[in-house]
Amino acid sequence: MYPFIEQYVWLVPLLPLLGAAVNLLAGSRLPRHAVSTIAVGSISASFVLTVIAYLHIVSLPADHRQFIDTAYTWIGLGGFKVGLSFLVDPLSVVMGMIVSGVSSVIHLYSVGYMHDDRRYSRYFGFLNLFAFAMLLLVLSDSILLMFVGWEGVGLCSYLLIGFWFEKIENARAGMKAFVVNRIGDFGFIVGFLLLFTAIGIRTGTWSLDFGAIQSAVGLVPTAVLTTVGIMLFVGATGKSAQIPLYVWLPDAMAGPTPVSALIHAATMVTAGVYMVARMNFLYALAPDALRVIAIVGALTAFFAATIGLVQNDIKRVLAYSTVSQLGYMFIGVGVGAFSAGIFHLMTHAFFKALLFLGSGSVIHAMSGEQDIRKMGGLSKKLPITTATFVIASLAIMGVPGFAGFFSKDDILYNAYTSPYGGTFVWLLGVLAAVLTGFYMTRLVVLTFYGSSRMDPHTAEHVHESPKTMTIPLIVLAILSAIGGYIGMPEAFGVRNVFAGFLGPVFASGVRLPEGSVPLEWALMGVSVLAAFSGIGLAYYFYAVDTELPAALAEKYNTAFRPAYTGMYVDEFYSKYIVGGVMGLKDLLALFDSHIIDGAVNGTARLGRRLSDFEGAFDRIVVDGAVNAVGNGIVSAGGVLRRLQTGLVQNYLIFAIIGMAILLSFVLL
């Protein structure tokens, strides 16, 4: 419908990059409204372009919904070429719309949230850079270009989590995110280089383009593909906060709240899920890697939810909930239901962005207070925030009719039926759903309902947020409510539009068994029951018998304490991993000071010996030869000088004798 877009896809990431460049280089000299106009304008323009790309791609026949826009050749090395080229297909266009759309809303929200921050232009510059990196990651046509975006979001998360670096904890959280991500990135690098080499050796074509990899991946043995798949997934556990590398995400809330929304919803954490979905053709040939992904996802979903139960910081609850929901997405892609994973990614982007922005609105109203024990009864003073937050909570808990219900149900159904899933994965998912119902209900009840536990001074200042903040909330609330209807299950007797749209991308992927309608209804019933049991339990605990939780916590302290401190994972890491690294460091230092230094010193000593010997050789042999020549010449000169008497008459005698000899030749 809009064929011109095929030549202008590069504008989608470029616009936020330009916005970032302007705001970072000249932003401090611009008035505030100019800064925010540039930032919001550039990302919104990107969103409009992605929507145009979507409309264009939809107008094409289903099998031809793909085009590549090469802006220029980035690396050209003989036959090896990496273009700055962008791949637009249903998967990347859906991701592009989620990323740029949710980013636009968050940018808009930030205008209100950050209005009196000192580093206003820098904030928006980083925010735009973040969106740029994520769009690059999503739209790239080769793993290498994807990796550029991959590293870019890592860098931007560091910059934004540590944005208020005056407090050392914030700077530390930023560094933690960066370092943990680097560990994952290492796996990613190993993975794609291994794949690159394996394909290059077997086919002779050295390429990192998705298309080339897809057509050659069948020639690589399964063992190599499994290794590649797991290494790439290690990268995904870093970016998408899965066990064992999820630890940075709960700390990432040290940044401004809109940044948390951006990280948790639109950018960054979805990168890993997207990458696995993008490489579906590879994972289809590496079923063991898929099983690993599904199990890690299920464990993460359950484990993070248990920690989320007892957190008291509003953002920390949401952070663990993100880790848990990402676990769901990995269950989805891990059991081969790629479109279900991406579907949950999308609905999650809506409601998690909304939850974070809503919590930001609460924190804004509470003058920076984040502890839910000191809130309560806010629903009267923050009506819009409360309404939108409740909608988002219903969505994340999987209450029928809201977005999260459809996507979560899709994943759990596939987890049960897929050959890569099974009862264990499914059961963990259902248990996580119970826990999700519990901790979200707890959060909503403690924050917005019941009696106020605020201190009176804060209570006076509580006010609803300005329009730039509430409009994004309302937009996201609408999406959270209705966003699920594009992916309704087959059991409802309708076509799953979302899965159908993404279908061609995953056509070469995993074959899933045909669905059976009664089973689907049954599983749906179980997950709804799970959600409501969690909700009911939390309602009883925190709204009816409010004394009970404290009493229980008192009684079962041994169980609560570990959950409260995040199951001691951070402590475990700092003791064993960091401690181990430190021990290794000491060992290496010893090795360094003894063996390496010894070798260096030994080399130096040997060098001195050698040079002594060479000096002697020089002095005796070379100098001797030179002097001998000189002395010989001097002594020869001593003999010959006697010829030169200085007396004219002697010379004449020689001349005459010479003449006589010459004459004798002539005459005789």
Binding site: R642, L647, V648
Partner: protein, 105 residues
Amino acid sequence: MTILPITLTDYLILSGALFSIGVFGVLTRKNAIAVLMGVELMLNAANINLVAFSKFTGPGVDGQVFALFSIVIAAAEVAVALAIVISIYRVTRTIDLDKEDTLKG
């Protein structure tokens, strides 16, 4: 007795003798002036040759003219040589050639 005509050979013998006396003088005299005189004898031996060959070969007088040039140039040469001798004398207070050995190696 008949007076034998003077032949070319006679002239050449004369000039050869004169040249030899000149060489002897140049090689044996200690005095620089005497050496110069020996050089003059050698030059004039050559002049005799020029004139003699001119007289006995052909009608022209080229050789005699050449001898005149030679005499003039010899005069100039003597003037230069004497000037050098005077300069040497000024520096070393002697014109004894055995003592002039500053170029000794």
